[in-house]
Symmetry: C2
Subunit: 189 residues, 2 copies
């Protein structure tokens, strides 16, 4: 089931990824949609948010994004863990992963790649620098539109609420999810 | 207090960072040590582990690593949260953060930068590609030696044990830590 989404400010979009969650990359070429889970991502800039996405060069997504220069970064939460894992275990040139895993492609506003409806947030992105694509599999992308589920986040983007628990990949089939929120204190010496 | 460390295999070192924790970058130049917390990091390759580290270009660490081409990536756990946060609130050209926050510089094996003794793991790194340093603040580093506390991790690098709970930065003074471990199931359709 997919929920209502609302626009999210572009200069805050990096905070959705700042704590290191797994994301699903959706892309499209020649009418064929694809999905790939990646754990290797990081913001690299704010306002607008730019991200470094590391996309394995044997993947179908690497080929598609290399050509189309656009994609969507989708943020899955814990109830999608089996689908996230399974999306990494089959190949986009062989199967339609939206159909196979019963995920909903939704129309994006600024890119052709589809949003994944079941994800709590979706960042529409365009590749702005592909010079490290061939050396380190790094695509630098800029977030050009951002969507989050109505009511999913408060001002601190608290990820300890049950409905927004993101997935963090430890390796193989092992993931962890965020527990409580901790507020740090500044030490004055 | 610092604990006994043992060598960790270089081809598994990426797994210490795969779930997106905050790390402390230690570096040294002209006999002056420095520490900087960063949330923006990702593995980019395995065997040996290579990492993309995004280091803000106004920082002292950016200048030092730009010159020395080496650093240590230290993995702090939750009991260090106030020190991690506070290390980001003062400047390395003004204060010795090891002394200010009572952290222990320990001798590394392959770089001049010191290990932070109180961290659960330490990855000695050399910069192997700085071409994106000026465009996106990205340093590509290779892990040349890795250390973890004796007994800290089992084969799955479980981060739900109390003594190895890593920090994940949500923004400002707000952090989260890993909760339980989840094993994903492959969906066969």
């Amino acid at each position: 089931m997919t929920n209502m989404k609302k626009n999210f400010p572009l200069d805050k979009a990096y905070r959705l990824l700042n704590h290191g969650p797994v994301v699903l990359i959706s892309s499209t070429l020649d009418g064929k949609n694809n999905i790939m889970p990646i754990a290797w991502q990081s913001p690299v800039d704010l306002d607008p948010t730019r991200l470094a996405l590391i996309i394995g060069d044997h993947s179908h997504t690497f080929k598609v994004v290399g050509k189309t220069k656009e994609l969507v970064v989708n943020l899955p939460t814990v109830e999608l863990v089996d689908k996230v894992f399974s999306c990494g275990k089959c190949h986009g040139h062989e199967v339609d992963k939206f159909r196979k895993f019963n995920l909903t492609p939704e129309k994006a506003s600024k890119v052709k790649a589809p949003l994944i409806g079941e994800c709590v947030a979706n960042l529409e992105c365009k590749v702005v620098d592909d010079k490290m694509m061939d050396t380190h599999n790094i695509f630098i992308v800029e977030v050009v539109a951002a969507w989050v589920e109505e009511g999913a986040y408060d001002e601190f983007l608290r990820v300890d609420k049950p409905n927004v628990k993101t997935l963090h990949h430890l390796g193989a089939d092992v993931f962890t999810v965020p527990a409580e929120i901790i507020r740090a204190k500044k030490i004055n010496v």
